[in-house]
Symmetry: C2
Subunit: 714 residues, 2 copies
């Protein structure tokens, strides 16, 4: 157990504000504590002599050795009550009282003071505005909810107290137990990262579930969760995913809006299984708590009903699992054991007249197959089959093979008892076989997370000072937006760019073009026959002109003899377009062969909650229309950069689809990593796009760049 | 009622093969019929005197006026029994007996004979290999399942008998009723199309649900379903969606494999709500049976719990519904009615201490708002709220406003009674609010289907004879694959193609190029400055060379002076690549400006089950990699062709994304329609691809074509 060991495992709990007034929160908490708690309960209320049979004390300091103070006094005296508890040596406090950050400026001030008080005395504070906490293993129910949870190995935190009451009521009905339950309230002091860390060290917690509307400290959460999630699965509903949902969350708990894309990337990198619905949260939580992880992806389906078998097979097809292909030996064993009409291949159809013995034998054979990593037991009610006996057989075989099993005993009342037997043994049951498969697939997904190895992102040798100088010179010009004039930033960080330079005179342009063409001719002699040999690209360079192409500020394929005139032309166009524009010059750039390459984009934006996010995707006009992009929190390791390429739909284009030469993927991967290092090194870079990053068989080249900086951060 | 009125509403039913043998199917059916059926039950079994208290007759002809014969005799005497029934004037037969098409060649022969017998006597035959049929309104349970269904307005057909027993058991537990239930069995005579038609005419059926593994006659099903679905919703699980699922279906019922893409397009065009899971099938079926359709898309959420309110809002964001924006008047009414801490905007949070009266008032105000088309009532259990009273209020208000409502009273046992009250009144309830929203969205989707107007596809004036001549000349050459030599097919059907001709001599090539360039110069004078003016494209024409580019058989941008040499060159290359290839000549074609256009693809393939399917999508290398395509069964109307363009992800590229000129969409639409007419007119065309179909602001142009023909069909 970690730093919150006392909070969840107290010997003595004081209710500050205990009362016996009917319908009051103070009474509900006191009664809930008195019901099952193995330790002492102390009532504190100076206006009472006795509360529900307990002596009532004037002050929390009046009783020695109180471990946890649960505070339910009115808002104006909460801080005094906590200070008194802290002075008495109490370090763990649950603040039930509302009327803090969630309600106006007075409340916000009170919450700030609460935070300061906690820092002063080094307090662990849950809430304020919390329903309370539970620890079923010591009978601790310090909430004002109507029901206590059953014992189990799931620990659950929720940013909604009402949701806690609903979940506990529902879970009790389904024999689903919890170890700890926390209503997070306003998260003034303790937040999701603290509980993730705590439960990660807690041997009684097998699965962590969360309902979150925001994350207080994005980076801290990712770090804690990443460490915990390889050993303990974390499943989270992060609501406010949609625009409407985010605005509802803001009005509900004042949730801070990190972008949905950032949450998506962050939770994924943290190894959190993110789900969208309450059903998935508890389906996934239950199976992770009750079943082992599958060692392989093949699923065996054993059924007495062909039609539902087909539906289950479709569900496997929809998942990242596969239908197990049985060994010859297994098929033979099925042939010996089953009637002629049976299907001895997967899904195994043991036919409608199957008694429980046939089901048991078939499941035994299936689980023994070396290709089977998980099984679905799927039955329809028949006159020859006892669901209860089937449940017992399944429980025994699952325990024998230690292979994950999910069950679908279809039906209503006829399946109730059997389903209870199964779920008490940790085998999840569903009416819809698609949910059974989906849950098994969650086991597979978590298996992959549990095998993740975190590699520190590589640090490349770069010229950080040169990069700083470019950013500072932009700041000196008092400009926040940079274009091709910032190509030097990329050079400084070793990101390949086409040969090019920025000139501010006609003669220099001609000279630059000659040098560039000469150099590329030398370096790459076999290009001599190509079209466009000797030609360059020229672009106007001005911080005030963002869309260069739109004003005719870009000339492609300029032959040597036209470089001088084109220089004049570009400058004239820019001046006439915007007479007061600062014109830094014209960039003369080597031609990049787009025909053999694929236009991609590599970029970054900075999320208020999670910091720099690196983007990679298909470039050109497809970026906007098809949005084939993927994101990672920086810093990005080599493995992550490779995954980013895997994730875009257009990945086959980079890998030689349609007889093209595959591009140099390593060069793209390194560019993503170097970009990640650049934006991590300079918090002043708020946004950056390399568009296009042309990926060719000979390497990646950053052809154009655009960025926004925040001078304050320099 | 339609042609099957007697089948579902008989006065007298005979069980041919009735018996009292324990555990037999004959006994189960006789007992089920005796349990609730309002009409007479007749037992037929020459080896018995009495069966379950009924006099047993030697022959079905021995009792007059039998309406339906349910046949459970052994396979070898099924046909005799049916003939006897037919001779006695019975027209409606349910064949329970298995051992037909599903089991070997003997069975297949027997099934063919059954079909012939049915045709001879004009019989309505359900099965064989069926669990039987039910009609709850006359207490008819002619199945051997363990339970009879409750009365309701859903009619359900299933290609799996086991699934019927599971569903009835489950539905009885949830007070979900059925009107008719049919286990389709092998569908030797009556199939899904017959029951769709029947139930479409049946005033007691509000919703049609189906579990199907295949469709016997694709086109017939689409036609029946399209007619029925505007008045009666049809919700179907068509299993075998995935490759694994399809092969499982084939081994289960010998389902014929139409392609998944064809099913998807066909069910959509038929107005069928296709679902993938058992849960969606019954969620959607229940709400369609119990609630009216929403008149608008705005949803009001009324809740006593903020967190679940946020999750519900996310679910609305995921759907095609929207969060209703309340009128000023509504907001004022909420402000007057609710406490200060309440959220008077959507989702309406009436705060955790809300009693039922506050819930009722808030729901009343929400339902009265002119922007609200549907409502979600969302509650967490609290000390101040009675779920039962809330249920009663919701039932009353829903009835008063006739606006669809779905409920999520979260919790387990505490919500059970309330949920029962709601579901008995047709208001669906779910623990997970996402399901409530998903179900309301299904109402919206069906509303759109109910408003569909079918328009006959347009018939264009085309040169059918010219097209036939091209196909026949290919057949005379004994070739099945055609390339550019078939451009004339497109011309004959008025699909725009670039100017071009096929020549078989060097001099003709030069002449053709001169003519083409001259014509395009004349017609489009302002192109004179363009690059490529005067150039042509040249392609080898050979039915034996499919991938022309791969062997250097295509030359783009050939200037006038090189046309002659290029002709020789192309022919030489083709000969050296494949000496025995039939070379029809060289196509000389006008250059099409790809820069201002978007490469799309329009094509067709013929599905074994559904006939010609027309495809449209993004072309070029993206066809293979991004698969951004959509399909329709031919013939395709103008409205459908427009929808096809809407459906591809790249549609914005055609509509002027990134400052491009929008392409001539009308020309693309007409090309799709004309292609549809071509492939409908000529069943000999098995496959056809126009790739690329270049869409430009000036119109669409079919630049290349490839097709496969079946000479037998000419």
């Amino acid at each position: 157990m970690g730093e919150l060991a006392t909070l969840f495992g107290p010997k003595r709990v004081a209710v500050v504000g205990a009362t016996d007034r009917e319908g009051s929160v103070g009474r509900a908490i006191t009664a809930n504590l008195l019901a099952d708690f193995e330790g002492d309960v102390v009532a504190v209320n100076p206006t009472k002599d006795e509360v529900l049979g307990l002596e009532s004390h004037d002050s929390v300091g009046a009783v020695p050795d109180v471990d946890v103070a649960v505070v339910v006094v009115p808002p104006p005296i909460v801080l005094d009550a906590i200070r008194e508890a802290a002075e008495a040596g109490i370090r763990d406090v649950v603040v039930i009282t509302a009327g803090f950050g969630e309600s106006g400026s007075e409340g916000a001030r009170r919450e700030r003071e609460l935070r300061e008080l906690a820092a002063e005395y080094d307090l662990n504070v849950v809430g304020p505005n919390s329903l309370g906490i539970m620890n079923t293993s010591v009978g601790l129910n310090a909430t004002f909810g109507p029901e206590n949870a059953q014992e189990g190995s799931i620990s659950f935190m929720s940013q909604s107290g009402a949701f806690v009451t609903a979940v506990v009521d529902w879970a009790n009905d389904r024999n689903l137990g919890f170890h700890n339950v926390v209503s997070l309230g306003n998260k003034a002091v303790l937040d999701e990262s603290d509980f993730v860390r705590e439960w990660g060290e807690d041997p009684d917690t097998d699965v962590i579930l969360g309902y979150l509307e925001d994350v207080v400290d994005g980076r801290a959460f990712v770090e804690s969760a990443r460490e915990v999630s390889t050993d303990t699965p974390i499943v989270v509903v992060k609501s406010g995913r949609t625009e409407a949902g985010a605005s509802a969350a803001a009005s509900h708990t004042g949730a801070i809006a990190g972008s949905e894309e950032a949450y998506e990337a962050a939770l994924d990198q943290a190894g959190v299984l993110r789900v969208d619905t309450v059903q998935d949260l508890f389906d996934f939580g239950s199976i992770l708590a009750g079943q082992p992880l599958p060692e392989r992806d093949g699923v065996a389906i054993v059924t007495n009903a062909g039609g539902p078998g087909v539906m289950t097979t479709d569900a496997v097809g929809d998942s990242d699992l596969s239908l197990a292909s049985f060994s010859d030996d297994t098929v033979e064993r099925f042939q010996d054991a089953l009637p002629d009409e049976a299907n001895v291949y997967n899904p195994v159809d043991i036919i409608g007249d199957a008694p429980v013995e046939r089901f048991e034998e078939a499941l035994d054979i299936a689980l023994a197959d070396p290709n089977v990593g998980a099984a679905v037991v799927l039955a329809c009610p028949t006159a020859t089959l006892s669901y209860e006996d089937l449940a017992d057989s399944v429980v025994d075989l699952q325990a024998e093979y230690e292979t994950p099993v999910a069950a679908t005993l279809m039906g209503g009342s006829s399946a109730r008892d059997a389903n209870e037997r199964l779920s008490r043994a940790g085998i999840p049951t569903y009416f819809d076989p698609a949910r059974a498969v989906r849950s098994l697939d969650a086991l597979r997904e978590y298996r992959e997370i549990s095998r993740r190895e975190y590699t520190e992102p590589e640090t490349f040798d770069v010229d950080r000072e040169a990069a700083r100088e470019i950013l500072e010179s932009a700041a000196r010009r008092d400009t926040n937006r940079l274009g091709v004039e910032a190509m030097g930033l990329l050079d400084a960080y070793g990101i390949p760019t086409p040969d090019g330079e920025i000139v501010d005179a006609r003669a220099d342009a001609v000279e630059a073009a000659e040098r560039i063409v000469g150099a590329s001719g030398e370096g790459d002699g076999d290009d001599a026959d190509d079209d466009g040999d000797g030609e360059v690209v020229m672009k106007i360079v001005s911080p005030d002109i963002l869309h260069k192409s739109d004003i005719g500020g870009v000339a492609v394929g300029v032959p040597p003899e036209e470089v001088g005139d084109t220089y004049e032309d570009l400058v004239t166009r820019a001046r006439s377009y915007q007479p007061d524009a600062t014109i830094l010059g014209v960039q003369v750039q080597e031609m990049v062969d787009l025909d053999s390459g694929v236009e991609t984009i590599a970029g970054m934006n900075r999320d208020p909650q999670f910091g720099p996010l690196v983007l990679f995707g298909l470039g050109g006009i497809f970026v906007e229309v098809l949005e084939d992009t993927t994101l990672r929190l920086a810093p990005v390791s080599e493995a992550s950069a490779r995954e980013m390429i895997d994730e875009i739909d257009a990945a086959p284009l980079l890998r030689g689809a349609r007889g093209r030469d595959p591009v140099d993927e390593g060069s793209v991967v390194e560019t993503i990593q170097r970009l990640s290092q650049l934006v991590t090194d300079f918090p002043a870079i708020v946004e950056l796009d390399i568009n296009p990053l042309v990926a060719t068989p000979d390497g990646a080249q950053a052809v154009d760049v655009r960025l926004t900086i925040d001078q304050e951060q320099l």
